[in-house]
Subunit: 310 residues, 2 copies
């Protein structure tokens, strides 16, 4: 029943005056997504954005940029390389490739070094690790032209939760749960007023949500498996407009440990006193983003049994 | 400069009336150790035990049992399999194989599942994981005959420290440090009265120590590398006779995070309030040992930069 929930991510911003990415249409993006062995399940749109729910996570397409997130054993870099091959490096103003630590790295088909060795043949980018090798960590490669400058409201917040507990975990581990029960758990209708929602319940459990409004997205991917549960949340909503958002999600899912990753200078968050930061790393990328990674853990009370292996 | 300090470990107890393992001599053990690509550097003995300092960690040989600990990219299981092949399963009353989580698991030549698949063809043992997959954890395989019963004073305590800091780390990262400086750091002469000591300083840094007295051993292995430092301590000294031993070592090395593993019902330890347990797992093995694993972390103050990768 093991599933690797942790994700790889590509974000691409086009050079001004390039093609309109939304006009490429679903069949084009299906072809790109197939390169990493995922498929499109469904779509929801606003005036500014097309959000594709994938068999392994999500794809968001704006006129001038796209964001692909995939989990499991997908080789996301292959989708990125296909895009570069078709459109050329001159069309690309920013290319970010990110990869989270995995539960079972040896079951992955590539490692981060393999992935970026292909990118480095194309772009002269830089790569970083945020977080310690023996704990949670995040790899990041970025390339940007000298002209690239992120907009002041170009923020990203990621919240990555491990070993969820309590009533939330119980609901998410119930097989064939109706969508409505999971929407209620997160109070999506009241918390996300005005957002178009697109969600999917996997068999027998597991849940993905894309939510979009104007040019803003929010996405949740839930792998509830006991012993290796993982829930990721990501958004470009300016968190100062929803200051309780992240702590509300943490309180619902009651994880033993979680990470935050912010591409945002204005981001500051208060979590329950049960959690303490065990590592923090921050860097100013030459592409103009200030990236901050924090790994939080909860004091452990009681004692587990060992996990019996086959 | 990366070196994988985390260890694999084999402990074997012979069936009563089998051969005397000490009589096999250094050349025999050199041959066994070569099977995992390590070599013997030096030896120290008491009436009860021969302690071999290895190029990758340590080997302890009693008349009726042995303990091998190796780090780096050694395939320790090959040494264990060679011993079984030569002496047969009927000579073996207990076989324990342990493997710690690695900094770079994908650089290892085998994974735990590979290692024990070979053991399971020979013994009908059981395997466990203590600790969570996304944090520190320890794999353990054990096989014992029905007759096997550990002696009341058959205890083991392991202390595994990561990201050491302060003055201790500074001393250990200084190149070509004389042995005497490292012995002074741990106050070995006063803390280990009556023990025979055998230690080695690696080039340019790194340190291994074996200390033995009667049938008791204590071993320290230090990989001080910045970004991936690791120090392991292991002993069969009854800790109730030296109740401050572990906390003294932790205070000297000031690690960001450490684990304890006890094969000992009587073991209970107080560490500085700076550290909190973030996971604990305990199990009673059918071989008669109660094994307890605890992962501690320190609150992180301040903020690191990201690690720049090549």
């Amino acid at each position: 029943m093991f599933f690797e929930g942790s994700e790889k991510k590509i974000e691409v911003v086009l050079t001004p005056g390039s093609i309109n990415l939304r006009k490429l249409g679903r069949s084009y993006w299906q072809k790109i997504i197939e390169k990493c062995n995922a498929t499109i399940l469904s779509t929801v749109s606003t005036d500014k954005i097309d959000a594709y729910l994938l068999s392994e996570s999500s794809l968001f397409v704006w006129e001038d940029r796209f964001l692909m997130i995939t989990c499991g054993r997908t080789i996301l870099i292959n989708s990125g390389l296909e895009f570069i091959k078709e459109h050329g490096t001159s069309a690309i103003e920013l290319f970010i490739y990110q990869r989270k630590n995995e539960y079972l790295p040896h079951k992955q088909l590539t490692i981060f070094e393999d992935d970026i060795s292909k990118l480095k043949e194309i772009f002269g980018g830089e790569s970083y690790r945020f977080g310690r090798l023996d704990g949670h960590h995040n790899y990041l490669f970025h390339y940007a032209t000298k002209e690239y400058q992120p907009a002041p409201n170009d923020i990203t917040a990621e919240l990555l939760m491990y070993h969820i507990g309590g009533k939330g975990a119980q609901i998410l581990r119930t097989e064939h749960q109706p969508k409505s029960v999971i929407r209620d758990l997160f109070q999506l209708e009241s918390n996300l007023k005005g957002f178009a929602l697109d969600d999917f319940v996997f068999d027998p459990f597991g849940y993905s949500l894309n939510a979009v409004k104007d040019d803003r997205y929010l996405t949740i991917h839930i792998t509830p498996q006991e012993d290796s549960s993982y829930v990721s949340f990501e958004t470009n909503i300016e968190l100062k407009t929803m200051p309780q958002l992240l702590s509300t999600i943490v309180n619902i899912l009651d994880p033993q440990t979680f990470d935050t990753i912010f591409y945002d200078r204005s981001c500051s968050h208060e979590f329950s006193k049960d959690y303490m930061p065990v590592h923090k790393a921050k860097d100013n990328l030459s592409s103009g983003y200030e990236v901050e990674f924090t790994h939080y853990m909860k004091r452990f009370v009681g004692c587990d049994s060992a996990t019996i292996l086959d």
